[in-house]
Each structure stands twice: as C-alpha cells, then as structure tokens.
Amino acid sequence: MPPNELMTTTIPTSRRTPPEESNMNMHSMTVRGKDRYKSGVLEYKKMGYWEPDYQPKDTDIIALFRVTPQDGVDPVEASAAVAGESSTATWTVVWTDRLTAAEKYRAKCFRVDPVPNSPGQYFAYIAYDLDLFESGSIANLSASIIGNVFGFKPLKALRLEDMRLPVAYVKTFQGPATGIVVERERMDKFGRPLLGATVKPKLGLSGRNYGRVVYEALKGGLDFTKDDENINSQPFMHWRERFLYCMEAVNKAQAASGEIKGTYLNVTAGTMEDMYERAEFAKELGSVIIMIDLVIGYTAIQSMAKWARRNDMILHLHRAGHSTYTRQRSHGVSFRVIAKWMRLAGVDHIHAGTVVGKLEGDPATTRGYYDICREDYNPARLEHGVFFDQHWASLNKLMPVASGGIHAGQMHQLLDHLGEDVILQFGGGTIGHPMGIQAGATANRVALEAMILARNEGRDYLREGPEILAKAAETCTPLKSALEVWKDVTFNYESTDMPDYVPTPSVAM
C-alpha cells in the first residue's frame, strides 16, 4: 500500500502539515550525476536521504522518529541526517559510494510532519531497504536503526517511535518460543487471565524461606510465582538452592490442587555459559518456565529463545532497565518498538504495563503495546500510538504481563483494560494479605473467577465490578479482607508518555 494512503487516511485532517510547510518539503533536492560526488561536505537532504516522492516498497522497513532539531536547524535536513546516519552516510562525501548500489542502500526520509501540539518536534518517516539488515538478528536491526544517530549534535533529542517490519523480515525470526496458545494448552488453563506473584522481599530470603512463599502462593490458587529481576545468585541464596526449593514448592502445590503450576526461575547470569547451565538445571528439575532480564542484551535473548524452543520451555522476559530509554517522550526508544523486537526475538512473556498499577502507562498507549504482543495483524491506530499496519505472519503471540501495584479490588478494571490473555501479577497484593499468602492468592483467584463468570454472563462488569466482588466476598473471607485492606489504593499520576493523536469525531461517523 502506498504510504500516503496508509497514513493520511488515519491522521485527522486538522493535524496535517500546514500547506506552506509541506510546499517547502515537497520536492527532492538530491544532487545527481558527477556533482553528487565532488569532495567536500553536502547537506544530507541533497545527498539522497530526503526523497519526498519515494514510495516505500512492501519489503522496506519503515522507522518513525520523533526529531527535535537544534534551534535554527531545518527539520527536513535534520530528518535527512537521521536517515543518512542510520544507513550509509558519513559527514562528508566519499567516492567509495560509487563502488556500490548506493541509491538502494541509502535510507530515504520520505515524509516529515510537525508533531501535533509539540512545537519544535517533527515526525520523520524513513524507509530502509531490506538488504540493509541481516536476517533474524535484532542486534543488527537495532545497531542500524539506533546504533549511531542518537548522539548526533544537530539534534536536541531523538526518539524511535514505531517501526513497520515487513513480512519478508518478520519471517526470518523464530518468534515466541511457545506462544499464548501452546502455553495455555501446556498449563491447561483457558478462558481467564493467568495469575502470578513476585516473591517478596525480593532480596534476602534464604532458599528454604523463598520456597515457602512459592508454595503458599501456588497452593492458595496462583498459577505462577516469579523471581524478581535482580534475584540471580547472591550470598543469601545461591541459584541452585532457589531452584531446588522452588521445584519442591511447585510439585507440592500441584499435588495439593491437581493443577499445573510454575515458577519463573530467573537464569540471568554474567555469561551465556552460566545462563545455559542454569536453564539446563531448571529443565532437569522439571520446571515449565524460565526467566531472563532485558539487560542481558538482544543476542542473549535470542539465544535463550532458541534454547527455550528446543527444550519446550516457556520463556519469561522481565523488562529490567527499559524505562531508562522508553519513558521520556522526546528521547529514546518507545516501548512499542521494544515489544515488536521482543516478539521477533522470541520471548513468551513480556511486562507491558498495568494502567492502574504503580508503574508508568497511560491506557491508550498500553493498549497499543498489548495489541502488538497479541494480535496477528495490527492496523495503524494513532490514538493508541500505533503508526503502521503490521502483519505478524502467524508468528506466535506473546503473553503480556501486568505487574506492579495491583490488587484484587481492581479486577474489573484490569479485565477491561487488559483483556483475557494476560498474566496478572499480584506480588504485594498476595504476600501482603493480612491473613497470609495462601489467603492472598485465594482472594485474587476468587475475584478473577467471579469477574470472568460475570463478564461471560453478559453483565456490565466494569460498572458493577465492586458489587460483583462484594458478592463473591460473601463466600470468601480472604477476598473480603483483601477488599477492605486495599480499598483506597490507587496510583493516579500524570503519564509521561501518551499518544500524540486523539480521535476527533468526524461527520462520516
């Protein structure tokens, strides 16, 4: 589909580039022939990195950057520079370009729009030929797109907002090792979100005490427990201790409930060799799931995803560290891009926000992340921050995880915002229960089952949520007590990142 058709149909008319600015940008300024290769310095927009007439091919990768040029820098030149520096350009003309099919390899900025309500910021759409990238390598993709350009002096700030990944490229990746459907089949859990909890306190428990928390939470009704991101192998608990006691807890809880249970054993370590050793041990002990942290790096993540596929293991990813570059609106990489990369890289779970909990996440933006994880096709939805149509070509679905500051009393809101294919993790909301961990787990499970039952019965569960919970609490003391303790807990803060486009009612509707 031609890009203009794809984008202008979804951008509200009132927010399009004002005519005088688009006129300035309308024509290619590329210098051609012998003059293009005269030694010296040439503006990026004249080197072939600004091609407003370019029609992206179906096989092109398209990146959308939010560009904030330094004062006085022409936004088109700044955007062309981003295209140049993320593909073939250097600061001066080089004759060796002429030994290559240089025009094909140049990334082409084909569109620059002012960002609505954000003076000084521009959306730059840049197309990259597929041959610029190695198949099946997030390391290569990211080194190209974000490797060099973020420190570029003429820019005040730069953010990678979204990417369109062509099917031809998607198909070179394994994708989630297990996927939502097979995970549900293996866990024998259908029709409701899965429930989890992170063991707390996250540091200091011995292996034996740690296993106690796992047992209580799983026996009480959770499907999963989870190591936290920084639980690896510390003086208070060596990793083998943790694994052995956790698997005792998992097996005991399975026998007590007749249900399949799991605990995310974090195999994150200092080297790949150590991670493989830990993963192998987890497999030997019969764990259904292991876990890694985002900070291990894209290549390590892809390696573990391949290991997980080979060994029938579900692979949980904790997005440790992401907020350092995803949170600020003007600079860094949007989490929606990280979510796309992680679906390609092949993890099965990814933390993607709770909306109502303690961590950053506006509802519309979070919805965009969830769609990226779970759908086979994402239509462009600017109001959710999704800029491109994206086909996933039957790559497995990635289960989003909601974790951080959520409790049973929010069950109706969680189900409404996040849907059914999600893991709800109540750490404090399980372990902090006044009647103990089992009771905390039971409260969450009962709240969830009651809400699903009501939703399926066609009730307006969002509005009637508190009543539905109160009714369920009549036959469940732990839920009653949870609702009482956390009744007023909410985290209402201004979001730092939200979509730039708001849907406006149109006559046609």
């Binding site: 029709g191 097996n251 399926n456 019965e457």
Partner: protein
C-alpha cells in the same frame, strides 16, 4: 481436597442456570462445546473421555444442558467438564474449560519423591483414585 482445574473451581459449584449462561456465551462466540468426563483427574491427563463429539452448529445452550444431564446419569460420580473450541485461525484450541460435575469424595494426589544425586529430587504425582482400575475408582 478439591481439584481446582478449569475456569471456575474457586467459586461455589455452578448451578445449572449458571452453567447454561456460560454455554450460551461460548455459543455466541461461535465456539463448539464439548462434554468430557474422567475418573483420572491427574493434572497432565489432557485427554478426558469424550461424551460424543463437540457440538458444532448449535445455537441454544439447552442442547448442551440436555447432553450434560444424560452424561451425569451415567458418570454422575466422575469429573465432567465443558470445553469450548475456537476454530478461528491463530487459536484453533480450547477457549474456555470448566468443571461441572465432581465425585462426592476427592481423595487427591500422592506426591512421590525419588532422591537423586546432588540433592535433586524426581517428583511423581499420582491420583489416589487411580490405584483402582478404571471404572471402579469412585465408589
């Protein structure tokens, strides 16, 4: 003990009216509902016996409820569950599954531990009920 497999095991046992509303929901999603029963509730026993075929093309929950009652007449002291299948691309699997009938007594599971080298333990879960032959497990 109480086997807590399925979507609604933590709630009080569903009444027939509640079951019927869940079935109606499934049918409205275009899913085919299947009745399955077993006297071996081991958590990894995926293949419970089928009470006929999944009920494709059904519109009204009453059809399922009728079959469920027939099944209860024969296997009233076994586990019976309803499973709803979604044949749409990208799913092609179960979308909802819940227990609608249980034996009067649920003896639960034995956990056997075989001590291996290096503190490793091999665990085996087995249902006390399966100590007896199929068909003679629950009274």
């Amino acid at each position: 003990m109480r086997v807590t497999q399925g979507c609604f095991s933590f709630l009080p046992d569903l009444t027939d009216e509640q079951i019927s509303r869940q079935v109606q929901y499934c049918l409205e999603q275009g899913w085919a509902v299947n009745i399955e029963f077993t006297d071996d509730p081991h958590p990894r026993n995926n293949f419970w016996e089928m009470w006929g075929l999944p009920m494709f093309d059904l519109r009204d929950a009453a059809g399922v409820m009728m079959e469920l009652n027939e099944c209860r007449k024969v296997y009233g002291n076994s586990y019976i569950r309803l499973s709803a299948f979604d044949s749409s691309h990208g799913w092609e699997s179960v979308r909802l599954s819940f227990i609608v009938n249980r034996p009067k007594d649920e003896p639960g599971f034995r956990l056997e531990r075989h001590e291996m080298a290096g503190r490793n333990i091999r665990y085996t879960t087995s249902s006390y009920a399966t100590d007896r032959p199929e068909g003679r497990r629950y009274g």
